[in-house]
């Protein structure tokens, strides 16, 4: 099959971030003193387990960031034309989930639609009944067999998953035998996770595990797709926050005087506007700009994607002030220390003092602030999308899922699965991020006394 790689703007930023991560990991590995706090992180069981969970989310997000477009069947012209629909590697892997769309809502693991319809039976009589789903449980002759089948599939799935998990755990144990990792909680959680994944896989092959939404899309697929949006909001934003906060914070602290005054004025002004309102105002303006320039985008995915990147930019511009203030305070403290004064006395240039002495010594603050911010940003996305100033409505995200499902609360019986799925996925992601952030803070904060 012919296809062309489509690299969206957010993909580029994801690759950039990934490259930065790999580079810094490599750098840290070379330096024992930088590795030390990470060893402390590795000793914390909660940190390693939450890192494992985050890692799974990252894999899904990354696979979902490799975009391509399929070539359309060739017409007489001879020139290959590519479909305007942008797909990702993840979409390809989850193709059954993506393409098996029902007519409308159906409950998790259901074999029938959620609402009654008039259907003609074999004799031609029209009856009001719940019509069978096109895909969910289609292999069953009658709906009554469902419970047994679900149980059988779930059990085989769990067993297969556990077997795979056992294999991974054994390999990992061999590999990490010499290291100081706390292995037991990690191995147990690997088993739990693979068991869950196995069960979901096996069930998803024949059912809609988390039901379907209004237009019949599989909720599990939507939830997995939302991960990328959440991760991008949480990580790409730091690409904006970091340079701004680092540059302004250190400049204000190091040079003081009018530079400090100007920067302080700037961040007081930005800070004094309630952040939701500032974001709303900026996003409204961005919407107008995007509406005015339809020629910038060749397809709707590119347009939704650019809006996502802009949203990250806006979130970054409105949220650098906190980190900036921390960095300014720390730099003010550092510049009075003897080794900086010694460097100044030796005639070392300001630029060199900043890069050699100040920046490395504020790195722990930056790292702590970045990991702490991540979860807040993921939660903010949902709220902003609800308010109407979040991601593009066509983009799948936790916010748009909640927003779409919220209106169905009033139905009887209630359509709860889309909401529950979005909240559950978000909870797992944010909880893992919070726990990991706590461990990182504990390991890097020099104010905490440690008896080591």
């Amino acid at each position: 099959m012919n296809f062309t790689a489509e690299i969206l703007w957010s993909d580029r930023l994801v690759f950039l971030l990934l490259a930065a991560c790999v580079a810094s990991t490599w750098y840290v590995r070379q330096h024992e003193h930088l590795l030390l706090p990470w060893r402390r992180v590795a000793k914390s069981a909660t940190a390693m387990v939450s890192l494992l969970v985050l890692f799974l989310f990252l894999i899904v997000g990354f696979l979902d960031s490799l975009h391509y477009r399929v070539a359309l069947p060739e017409k007489s012209g001879g020139e290959t034309v590519y479909s305007p629909e942008v797909l990702s590697v993840f979409d390809k892997l989850a193709e059954p989930l993506r393409t098996h769309t029902e007519k409308t809502y159906s409950a998790p693991l259901a074999v029938t639609l959620y609402a009654k319809e008039s259907i003609a039976d074999a004799q031609g009589n029209v009856v009001r009944d719940y019509p069978r789903l096109k895909y969910g449980g289609a292999h069953l002759a009658n709906a009554g067999q469902r419970d047994g089948d679900v149980l059988k599939r779930a059990l085989t799935g769990v067993v297969l998953g556990l077997l795979a998990g056992l294999l991974i755990a054994l390999l990992l144990k061999q590999w990490l035998k010499q290291s100081e990792f706390l292995l037991r909680p990690l191995l147990i959680s690997i088993l739990i996770i693979t068991g869950l994944i196995g069960m979901t896989f096996n069930l998803a092959a024949a059912y809609h595990v988390l039901g379907t939404d209004k237009v019949g899309q599989d909720v599990l697929y939507l939830s997995l797709k939302s991960i990328r949006t959440g991760l991008i909001i949480g990580t790409v934003t730091t690409l904006v926050t970091l340079p701004l906060a680092l540059l302004f914070g250190i400049a204000a602290g190091y040079w003081r005087g009018w530079v400090d005054d100007a920067i302080q004025y700037l961040y007081t002004v930005l800070n004094s506007i309630p952040s939701v309102l500032l974001i709303a105002a900026a996003v409204l303006m961005m919407q107008v700009t995007i509406e005015m320039h339809p020629e910038w985008f060749d397809n709707s995915a590119a347009r939704a994607d650019l809006r996502l990147v802009f949203l990250c930019l806006i979130l970054g511009v409105t949220s650098w002030t906190g980190l900036c203030r921390l960095l300014r305070g720390e730099t003010l403290k550092l510049r009075e220390l003897e080794y900086i004064q010694a460097a100044q006395a030796f005639g070392v240039s300001s630029f060199r003092i900043l890069t050699r002495h100040i920046v490395p010594n504020v790195m722990h603050i930056i790292l702590i602030a970045l990991v702490m911010d991540f979860s807040g940003l993921v939660l903010a996305e949902a709220v902003l999308s609800y308010v109407g100033v979040g991601v593009d409505p066509t983009m799948i995200s936790f916010g748009t899922m909640i927003n779409g499902a919220r209106l169905e609360m009033g139905r009887e019986p209630m359509v709860w699965w889309a909401l529950a799925a979005a909240f559950a996925f978000m909870l797992v992601l944010v909880l893992a991020a919070n726990l990991f952030a706590d461990a990182v803070r504990d390991a890097f904060d020099p104010r905490l006394n440690r008896s080591e």
Binding site: A281, A382, Y386, G388, M409, F423, L431
Partner: protein, 325 residues
């Protein structure tokens, strides 16, 4: 004290000017009024005359900052900046797109906002501090660890979940209070109870955890050891000494938000159908009513600055060492 206050207020002026300029740039320079007119009237098939008419009706047909055509003070005052932005300094917010006075809407909607926000704030403060004190009292025991774990769990849950879950459980399943609505006076009580509870529960995790760190920092200090050495009970140490001394860091975070209570909460108000400033803002955002959003941005920052000044004053009240000069 008075001199200090006056200086602080004067210092607030350049910040408000900055906010005003920022909103002006955001709303009028990034996208010209022409763009906005086209957006509002529909992108396609819009005639230049229609745009001109739209601009004229809303007073956007003037030059941005400087009017060469006018004479005298009109050079400055007959511009978009002067008419739309500068007026906000004297709290003249102009008219919304549906032709109503924004200032009047604001005064009308402040009450409902406050009816939710103020009780949420006060009850929340008591609950969070109590919870944090309890965790401090049982520090380093299983209770404390369980408390912190609960906090982390609670703060990992989306705020939307608390609202949607609360509405579902209390209003829909148990039929205790109406799902949404608002009424003035005592009759409104049944409408505000649920939003207040949800508001308190929604931030119990983050806040209690924060107060706990503050208390733990205080409890390591020398005066606490002295107080214990002279034989005070742990409870007395906590309430008489630690709580009092922790007031400064607590006030820093708390007093700033008091004026912002007027603005209400965007989410709570729109979910519960409370006619406050929060839902006003949301409606304006959804209707793309730029003048209302602009007014709310300015009002919000003005209130925040008031909060900063109040914070400074409150320091002198709880800490006799602080002298404002």
């Amino acid at each position: 004290m008075i001199a200090y206050l006056i200086r602080r207020i004067l210092y607030a002026v350049p910040i408000l000017v900055g906010v005003n300029l920022l909103t002006f740039v955001l709303f009028f320079v990034v996208n010209t009024p022409d763009d906005m007119a086209r957006m509002q009237l529909g992108i396609k098939r819009v005639t230049p005359e229609a745009i001109e008419k739209w601009k004229q009706q809303r007073g956007y047909d003037k030059p941005m900052m400087f009017n060469r055509a006018a004479s005298g003070t009109g050079k400055v005052s007959d511009t978009i900046f002067w008419q739309k932005s500068a007026g906000m300094f004297v709290l003249d917010f102009g008219y919304s797109d549906d032709g109503r006075s924004i200032s009047r809407e604001i005064t009308k909607r402040m009450g409902p906002s406050l009816a939710i926000a103020l009780p949420t704030f006060l009850i929340g403060l008591v609950v969070y501090v109590t919870f944090a004190l309890l965790m401090t009292l049982f520090r380093a025991t299983a209770l404390d660890i369980a408390g912190v774990a609960l906090c982390v769990l609670l703060m990992s849950i989306s705020g939307l979940f608390y609202i949607i879950g609360g509405q579902f459980l209390v209003s829909k399943l148990w039929h205790l209070v109406p799902i949404s609505g608002y009424d003035g006076g005592m009759g409104g009580l049944k409408f505000v109870v649920l939003p207040i509870i949800i508001g308190v529960v929604g931030s119990v995790g983050a806040s209690s955890r924060w107060y706990r760190t503050i208390f733990l920092e205080e409890i390591g200090k020398d005066y606490v050891r002295t107080a214990r050495a002279k034989g005070l009970s742990e409870l007395r140490v906590l309430f008489r000494h630690v709580l009092k001394n922790a007031m400064i860091p607590i006030l820093t975070g708390v007093v700033v938000v008091i004026p912002l209570l007027f603005m209400g909460s965007l989410l709570t108000e729109s979910f519960f159908g409370i006619p406050g400033l929060g839902s006003y803002t949301i409606d304006a955002i959804n209707a793309q009513d730029f003048s209302v959003v602009r007014a709310m941005v300015f009002l919000g920052s003005a209130l925040y600055i008031v909060g900063l000044i109040l914070t400074d004053i409150s320091y002198t009240m709880v800490d006799p060492r602080v002298r404002l000069s």
